[in-house]
Symmetry: C2
Subunit: 109 residues, 2 copies
DNA sequence: ACCATGTGCAACTCTGTAGTTGCACACAGC
DNA sequence: GCTGTGTGCAACTACAGAGTTGCACATGGT
């Protein structure tokens, strides 16, 4: 189970500002913390912290380009998280179907 | 866009205790707050609050049975959230692919 | 060498919320 | 009727994290 990683993704996505950052990054392809901060009602430092959380969750990656650090999204990681949730949903459905079947059997006896 | 609903789901799932509650519910099919609290290191009241959050996100439903209230998971809502995230991932991928193509064209000039 | 811009680190404030306790009410069984 | 157990509501505590400010360091351009 990639349980710990999925947890990190969910925590990262639970924050509105972080989702906004991801939107901006998806839009621009690549951007620095300073540039992103200009488009948001928060300081650069706040943006840096959010990007760190997103990085821990694997949702963004960063590279140095001269004196600035550029971030970009990592769609595969989000896709993986989506798959994990989908699997979880399927597991629940199966469980509920089994319970329903058992209930009907008991009723039949 | 079911953006607001997806938000609620993400916030709900970001909490470890809430995910545990969902696990327990998926396991048992149906359970009351008091019963669930016995399996967790928190009080019934804490469980009730968490269940309220999960209910707001549409991840669980409840029904009265005599003097107790029984909760169960709603797999369709989780599945829907998974689909939304998947679509988002696809959108990012498309965007990145476009940017990459543009970069290569410019390089070609 | 100097200046402008971008980043990194640390300490601080403050709001949200997870969790608690205490008590009142509701229902099932005796 | 009384008593168990389960639920509902309200006030409170406490901690995590979102955001800030201030300053030091690094890099590119002139």
């Amino acid at each position: 189970m990639t349980r710990t990683l999925l947890d990190a993704v969910l925590v990262a996505l639970a924050e509105p500002t972080r989702r906004q950052l991801l939107d901006l990054l998806a839009e621009r392809g690549e951007a620095s913390a300073s540039t992103l901060a200009q488009a948001l009602p928060v300081t650069r430092q706040a943006v840096v912290k959010h990007l760190a959380v997103l990085d821990d969750a694997g949702l963004v990656s960063s590279r140095r380009a001269g004196r600035e650090v550029r971030y970009r999204t990592r769609p595969e990681r989000l896709a993986a998280a989506a798959r994990d949730l989908s699997e979880l949903a399927t597991a629940w459905e199966t469980r509920l179907a089994t319970i329903k079947r058992l209930a009907e059997e008991e009723e039949g006896v």
